[in-house]
């Protein structure tokens, strides 16, 4: 453990034992004050962001000890929160607050049982940020503790959380839970909501700030369940919001564990009319489908806007239908070969389509017969629908989407030009 924490805290070590069942014994050094004395906490010196291998662990416990820590420990406080929470969820918090990137450290937080133990002890901390922490991390037991005396400080926690979400690369659920699958902006607004479901007391105290409506989609529910609430909120405002969020997450999970329908709550500053809510869900569905279509239609990566997108889609469908017509005309004029061997043709087809169709299509250079399928090209396509990767993979084996699209365009152009159908302006390579 970093010695600094110990010095700063000056708390009993035994506490840390109980708290920290995590393999990282460093936590142990950061014992949490057993006596609920915010004063003691505040008297603790600033917790310096731990450096070294176990910064998070060290900092995680510090918030408990030094609730009065300033923003410097925002990270540490986050860490503390994280410590109480399930390991995977802490990482983003820690990252965010401390600006550290060693999220991996947080993964080994003690199990929930240990947290439960610690929860009662943490109640003495009584820092406002507590509720935040608890809320954010969603430990049900912590709710009570958090509500004991956490002044609602909701400083730029939303920012931190939102950023956390953006930054969490380790797949920490915390960021997911806090941020959820929804965009960060949503998260920011939802912070106030988190605290409400946690507990009335908690709401009264810490969540006054979060009285507005925030909308959360249930997508995060399962993640929320996993997040234990973090009661200790040694850091200031930064933590409050975080906990608030997480408290909300846990509360959400508790309310609706797993339901078939999606709960949507009004976002902050938006109408709570059921109609508008349903409308928003609808709009999101539609934009999601438009995004999928954008990936299907070649050359639409930079287009923003439904109208232009619809135009592109219509043109593309029309061009495809023209292609079919042209090809059927071509097939009609082909001299009938009575010796057509279906199997031979089919096998050739399949081999060609699988093995690269550069020669067949006569597309531009760079078309190798490599077997590389660029799966990334259609990563966004609907998973439920048979993926179109193979058919495009048979085209030039380039990995770049643009190249592929351009080449495919060239293929279209050549086929259309054959019958003097006129070059389809839309199909010009849009590289």
């Amino acid at each position: 453990m970093s010695g600094q924490e110990n010095e700063n805290v000056g708390f009993q070590q035994s506490r840390s034992e109980g708290f920290l069942n995590c393999p990282s014994s460093r936590m142990a050094t950061n014992t949490m004050p057993e006596k609920a004395s915010g004063v003691t906490m505040s008297s603790l010196s600033m917790f310096k962001p731990p450096t070294g291998s176990d910064p998070f662990f060290a900092s995680g416990w510090d918030p408990l000890v030094s609730l009065s820590q300033t923003e410097n420990f925002g990270g540490s406080s986050m860490v503390t929160q994280g410590e109480f929470c399930n390991p995977p969820y802490n990482n983003p918090v820690v990252l965010e607050s401390q600006g550290m990137s060693s999220t991996s450290h947080l993964v080994q937080y003690p199990s929930d049982s240990s947290f439960a133990e610690m929860v009662p002890k943490l109640s003495c901390f009584g820092s406002g940020s507590f509720s935040d922490m608890v809320g954010s991390f969603g430990l049900p037991q912590c709710a009570g503790i958090a509500s004991t005396g956490c002044p609602p400080n909701y400083p730029p926690n939303s920012e931190t959380t939102s950023t956390v979400g953006g930054q969490s690369q380790d797949g920490c659920q915390i960021s997911d839970g806090g941020i959820g699958s929804s965009p960060n902006e949503k998260r920011r607004k939802r912070v106030p909501d988190f605290n409400s479901p946690l507990s009335p007391d908690k709401n009264a105290e810490g969540e006054q700030v979060q009285q507005k409506d925030s909308s959360i989609s249930d997508v995060r529910k399962e993640q929320d369940e996993k997040k234990p609430k973090i009661e200790e909120n040694s850091s200031g405002n930064a933590r409050n919001k975080q906990t608030g969020k997480q408290a909300k997450d846990s509360a959400d999970s508790g309310e609706t564990p797993k339901e078939n329908y999606i709960h949507v709550r009004a976002r902050r500053g938006q109408a709570t009319n059921s109609h508008s809510l349903a409308e928003r869900v609808r709009r999101e569905k539609i934009s999601e489908r438009m995004r999928l279509l954008q990936e299907l239609v070649p050359g639409c990566n930079k287009i923003t806007g439904k109208a232009v997108m619809l135009d592109e889609i219509i043109n593309y469908v029309q061009s495809l239908q023209q292609q079919v017509e042209f090809l059927s005309m071509k097939l009609a004029t082909v001299n009938p070969e009575l010796n057509i061997d279906i199997e031979r043709l089919l096998s050739k087809d399949i081999l060609n389509s699988r093995g690269g169709n550069g020669a067949l299509f006569g597309l531009g250079p760079g078309i190798g017969s490599s077997q590389h399928y660029p799966p990334g090209i259609f990563q966004g396509t609907m998973p439920s629908i048979p993926n179109t990767a193979p058919q495009f993979a048979s085209l030039p084996q380039t990995v770049l989407d643009n190249e592929l699209q351009g080449l495919f365009h060239m293929g279209y152009d050549s086929s259309t030009a054959l019958e003097n159908l006129g070059p389809n302006g839309r199909l010009k390579p849009e590289l």
Binding site: R282, R289, V324, E325, M329, L331, I342, Q371, T381
Partner: protein, 184 residues
């Protein structure tokens, strides 16, 4: 998705593709044999422009039909397409197609249509779709393009369009390959 190995492991798209290729080739051969028989009987020039046009029209219909059959009746647009083709065949030729699959398709199609017809005649806002896209002129155009699009809301229309585009692209590619093979 993962890269397809060199071996013949068929995933969803591939099986669709193979099914379509098979059906299409079979109908192509059928049309071709009919053409040669016709030519032999009449001993006239095999290709007159009208003949070619008619044949290409038939081939095109066959292509769409094979595509719809290959995908299966689980998509709205395939059901609508198959129904349209079936009606057209009934009207033009009074020939029976494969009843078993079509009967199944028609049953589903009936339910589908009944369910959506009530929705269709209401104005867009009343349908419960508050999106502006519902009554756009572009949306109307898209509805015409996608089979069965007239009775869908914008949400399912977009979904069906995506699947339709995928299958169309696949169809074009297979037809292109076949044409190249036959002309070589």
């Amino acid at each position: 998705m993962t890269n397809s190995p060199k071996g013949f492991t068929l995933n969803n798209a591939d099986s669709c593709r193979v099914k379509f290729a098979r059906r299409f080739l079979r109908s192509l051969i059928e049309i071709k044999t009919r053409q040669t028989n016709y030519n032999n009987n009449l001993s006239s020039s095999p290709s007159s422009s009208s003949e070619i046009r008619r044949r290409s029209e038939r081939i095109k219909l066959k292509a769409y039909s094979s595509m719809a059959h290959a995908v299966g009746p689980r998509k709205a647009w395939t059901r609508a397409l198959l129904l349209k083709l079936h009606n057209r065949a009934k009207r033009h030729r009074f020939r029976t197609r494969k009843r078993s699959s079509l009967a199944m398709v028609l049953k589903k199609k009936r339910v589908f249509r009944v369910k959506n017809h009530a929705n269709f005649y209401k104005p867009a806002a009343e349908r419960g779709n508050y999106s502006v896209l519902n009554s756009d002129e572009k949306t109307e155009k898209l509805r015409e393009l996608v089979p069965g699009g007239k009775a869908m809301d914008i949400c399912s229309l977009l979904e069906e369009t995506a699947h339709f585009i995928k299958c169309l692209a696949m169809q074009v590619q297979v037809m292109h390959e076949i044409a190249d093979q036959l002309s070589n």
